[in-house]
Point group: C2
Chain length 222, copies 2
DNA sequence: AAAATACTGTCATACACATGTCAAAACATA
DNA sequence: TATGTTTTGACATGTGTATGACAGTATTTT
């Protein structure tokens, strides 16, 4: 198995400071929608705290999480702001979140005055492209168990906290939400998580989850 | 149905000329591999003539076309060259192709000296991100007939030539290749194309294909 | 603390599509 | 033109996973 791993291209502290200078801080409570499809894409965001999911809603009301999840330190809302002018997806705070918001014209000034940031933005989008391509690849080639195992591993890497029991993922996602991320049904997620629990590769306590045996999870990824 | 359409963000003629100055022209015959997974990503390409497909190969030898197809006037090979240093996918000439090749360090000079190009590159990647997200969305939500219909419509838009019969798509793709693009099996493509042929939304002559009724095709896209 | 809501577990049924196989047709090469 | 190779067409079988339904269990809200 290819285990390509693009650690999210981190911004340098000085780059973040530049962005902070150009923007203002806003807080969003858990569950709040940060932007919605159809909104004018006139601003970009730097995540200071919290996790954000990017998703679409289909004509028949189904949710699909495209492009996984954005973590603290990452920029978001770049693509449409740079080009299209209108959001094509939703962004929602998975938990309480603090973001730096930079308005489009300010952001453009920033890019023009600091070409290094423009290049960084291009690099970031490059990495995300590859991530998105990897997801397409997974959707086509892997079955649901593999996709779920991969999601858990990715989440533990990005949002995991080491504990005695194992890596704790404290995102409090419902099975429904997980299903949207990997393109399957809620019931399938339920039964697969139980399978993983039985083979002792994960431990679930309430809605907290611990990855205890990533090797075993890896075996599901064909 | 949402019919988001990101026409590939075209480069201005003067921008292309700049890129041409920084690179050299190379021709590839039909079928030739332009770069392969694992290659060092030390150059980017501007397509002058011909179409190029971007694909991956799985551990078990299956091909998956991620991110559709690149057309004349488009840049390719950006993402990894900007960041990662190693190709994660293959690029193959669908038909005879002519490309301008720019080596990485020359490209970086170009970006630094012409911030407008850097911003354009970021925009291009932004558009492709959205395209990739749209594909993920389609993979999750749509069934195979819808995905095939959409592929045909996209191809007619990007590589189509108007004729008396209808829009001609002269890419000479095999059913196998089409299957890789939409994540299905060769047999399913064969039988679906026959269905489309019977309902007279497409006409097939040899390996040339004509879209004669895009409305009917659109109906397959749920 | 009670009531309402949202989430999880489990089953039975259905079906879209993969897979395997084989023959016919088209294409490429000698 | 003849011959090997690739592509297409057709069908029969198998399976992963969706869907729906309902009971039990957590979480919120009142």
């Amino acid at each position: 198995m290819e285990n390509i791993n693009y650690e999210p291209l981190a911004l340098e502290e000085e780059e973040k400071n530049l962005i902070r200078e150009y923007g203002t801080v806003i807080s969003y409570p858990k569950g709040q929608i940060i932007f919605a499809a159809g909104d004018t894409a006139d601003r970009i965001y730097l995540i200071e705290e919290g996790f954000v999911k990017i998703y679409r809603i289909t004509a028949d009301g189904r949710r699909v999480t495209v492009g996984s999840m954005r973590s603290p330190g990452e920029l978001m809302g770049l693509a449409e702001t740079l080009y299209h002018g209108e959001r094509t997806c939703f962004a929602g705070a998975i938990n309480d979140a603090t973001l730096v918001v930079v308005r489009k014209n300010r952001f453009e000034e920033l890019l023009e005055q600091h070409p290094a940031i423009a290049i960084k933005v291009a690099k970031t989008l490059g990495v995300r492209m590859r991530e998105a391509e990897a997801i397409i690849h997974e959707m086509v080639c892997w079955q649901v168990p593999g996709r779920l195992a991969m999601l858990l591993l990715k989440m533990s890497e990005r949002a995991g906290v080491e504990t005695e029991i194992g890596t704790k993922i404290d995102l409090r996602l419902t099975h429904e939400e997980i299903a949207c991320m990997i393109g399957t049904s809620r019931q399938t997620v339920t039964s697969l998580l139980n399978t993983f629990k039985q083979e002792k590769s994960i431990v679930i306590e309430g809605r907290e989850m611990y990855i205890v045996d990533s090797e075993k999870l890896n075996k599901w990824i064909v």
